[in-house]
Symmetry: C2
Subunit: 148 residues, 2 copies
DNA sequence: TGCAATCCGGACTGATAAGGTCCCCTTTAA
DNA sequence: TTAAAGGGGACCTTATCAGTCCGGATTGCA
């Protein structure tokens, strides 16, 4: 199945919670609020922090806060932060030297428009379109996963 | 990484070869022509046959032939045939009962527009746009894979 | 009528990556 | 000074993918 990682799903949930609460929230607090295991939430927030989506405030009374409203945060940014660059195959954006059949490969460079189409489709969707509205509190872990 | 399986990649190559040769081709013949291992080619063709993209002709002098020109074959059809339905998560097209947090899930049903956007983007691309043009013969296996 | 070529369907196994947890260090407010 | 919190990385487990193989069914040809 064409899919994104679970972390992307988690990230949307955590971001949604973060915006609903507002201000600075701690990782343990968000874990309790979302029902996702605390180490996992911490990992998600670390990745989002590195991507510049949230800001981590260290020290006692620290936590995380949103740097941008979810309405202006493209879903593709979250996917890139969690899953890496959006590219259906490795033969993309110029050769990486991975492909042994580079000289004779009939689809060489041909996946580019496909990736561009995917990127375009995902960039047009904001996280807020997926995340809202949210109840005050969730109980169970969040297996919004790809089963197939 | 957001990616498709290698089989999708193989399928495009095999279909490209099939159209270039024309008529009925055997699995071993296509394996030799593409450089992909024969059991793998056979598996790909079986899946494409089940999807109605190619037709399998049994018996001596059997083989496979295209049912439609690649110019009218959407890439999404190939992806669906190889990877299953295009859905970034399982919480799609109505509940499957997989999700324990179904009642409280804040993103419940929200991935639908995302999946629809992806499907739309992929449906607009024809296999022929990726597959052509092709040399007469290829030598090396075809690791056009997702390496991250 | 038998034989050989070919597809059909599924089962099996190894490799790869994802998912998740834990640890120690740094930072900072009380 | 201490405790609360994030930062960074290593680690292990498990699921899924990729690839192979086998027996059976079907059909053309000698």
């Amino acid at each position: 199945m064409l899919r994104v990682s679970k972390f992307t799903d988690y990230a949307v949930v955590v971001l949604s919670r973060l915006e609903a609460e507002g201000g600075v929230q701690t990782a343990p607090g968000l874990a309790a609020g979302t029902g996702i295991a605390e180490p996992t939430v911490a990992k998600v927030l670390k990745m989002l922090s590195q991507a510049g989506v949230v800001e981590g405030l260290r020290g006692a009374r620290g936590g995380y806060r949103l740097l941008r409203p979810l309405a202006s945060l493209g879903l593709s940014e979250v996917i890139v932060a969690m899953d890496g660059p959006i590219a259906l195959t490795a033969c993309v954006d110029g050769g990486f030297g991975f492909c042994e059949a580079e000289q004779t490969c009939p689809v060489r460079g041909r996946w580019d428009p496909v990736n561009a189409a995917i990127r375009g489709a995902l960039s047009a969707i904001m996280v807020s379109e997926i995340a809202s509205p949210m109840p005050a509190r969730r109980a169970v872990p969040q297996p919004v996963l790809a089963a197939e």
